[in-house]
Symmetry: C2
Subunit: 216 residues, 2 copies
């Protein structure tokens, strides 16, 4: 039950609240369900009112990515002498944040993150790795490789974004349709669940990457 409100009466909205509500909405209803009208409805406000706080829907979505990225690294401590464990923590924190907001994940993969906040984080990573003795170009490579791998892997892990969920069965659900003669290895994968542990696969791949860069 949304209280009636006439034009002119303030809703007491703020840019922050709009982004908060949008993130909530996407988390619960999925990205495809997000529309300006529905978001307005969730805030007890008409759609056009939102345009006082956000220039357009694209900017709203960019803000969502930003928001999630911020939460990812809020609690990350400063780098010590060793950059490897620090980068590892960075990767896992990023994955945790993305998994916590799967609806935003496709956006995170698609949109370059250029906000001041994101730039500040990049700067911090570069500084941290340089302090650990890594040349600038190499630091940039490591950060980018870790970030892009994390996003790519988490995208695959989450699979179809919520809101699309259920419209198409994933690999597991199709186990019975799979012809064991044509697909012996895939059926074995599903039966034994070998190679389907995302947690350990992700951790191992990150360790391999970091060890490789550290050795070079």
């Amino acid at each position: 039950m949304v209280a009636e409100r006439r034009a002119g009466t303030k809703a007491g909205l703020s840019r922050e609240q709009v982004f908060d509500a949008a993130l909530d909405f996407v988390d619960t209803h999925g990205l495809p369900a997000l529309s300006m009208r529905k978001l307005g409805g969730a805030l007890g406000v008409e759609a056009m009112t939102l345009y006082n706080y956000v220039p357009n829907k694209d900017a709203l979505l960019d803000g969502l990515v930003d928001r999630v990225m911020e939460t990812a690294f809020a609690g990350l401590d400063e780098p010590g002498d060793e950059w490897v464990p620090w980068m590892r923590e960075f990767a896992h924190a990023l994955r945790r944040a993305l998994l916590a907001h799967p609806g935003v994940l496709p956006l995170a993969g698609t949109r370059p993150v250029n906000s001041p906040e994101a730039l500040r984080m990049s700067e911090r990573w570069l500084a941290g790795m340089r302090a650990g003795g890594v040349p600038l170009g190499r630091a940039m490579d490591v950060v980018n490789v870790v970030a892009t791998f994390t996003i790519g892997h988490t995208l695959a892990e989450v699979g179809r974004t919520p809101g699309h969920e259920g419209t198409e069965p994933n690999l597991d659900d199709r186990a019975d349709e799979l012809d064991p003669v044509e697909f012996p290895n895939l059926t074995e994968v599903i039966a034994t669940r070998a190679g389907l542990d995302f947690d350990s696969r992700f951790a191992e791949a990150i360790d391999i990457l970091l060890a490789g860069y550290a050795a070079a």
Copy 2:
């Protein structure tokens, strides 16, 4: 000039042609511009006619991903004794195909590829790596890590999908706005272009990954 055609007269359309046209359309106009009406227009047909060949738009998009994936591995030769160079070739072929159809890239990242064709490819990879002496679970890990990294890295490389292009400046274009005092490392990155070579970064990361898995 689209020829007039009355109801009943065949347009000689086929499922293949619909997908071909959709891929063309996305490559030239970008993914956001793709609508059933416009795709119909490109084929000289009403929008609803497309629903004779495709159950809905989502299936059309899934088909696009499938199409690109197929082209990626069409020319890939069979695995020999050594799986490492074979996986490397797989990774580079995938990246090439994705870069050739950047409009489809966001879809490739978002949608699980479950088509028969995709399953056949997965089966082939698993078989190839097992033939090279890799245990099944490990083979699954390697394939998934290479694929997800490739997609994630290429997503970042392409940045905003065409059709969105130009709506937001990327890092390079903002070099002059960047405060050298607050962002000394980022400004240096842009000035020296250190760590901005996607080709070599990708190749190196793939080699590190494969070497790491081969060593374990």
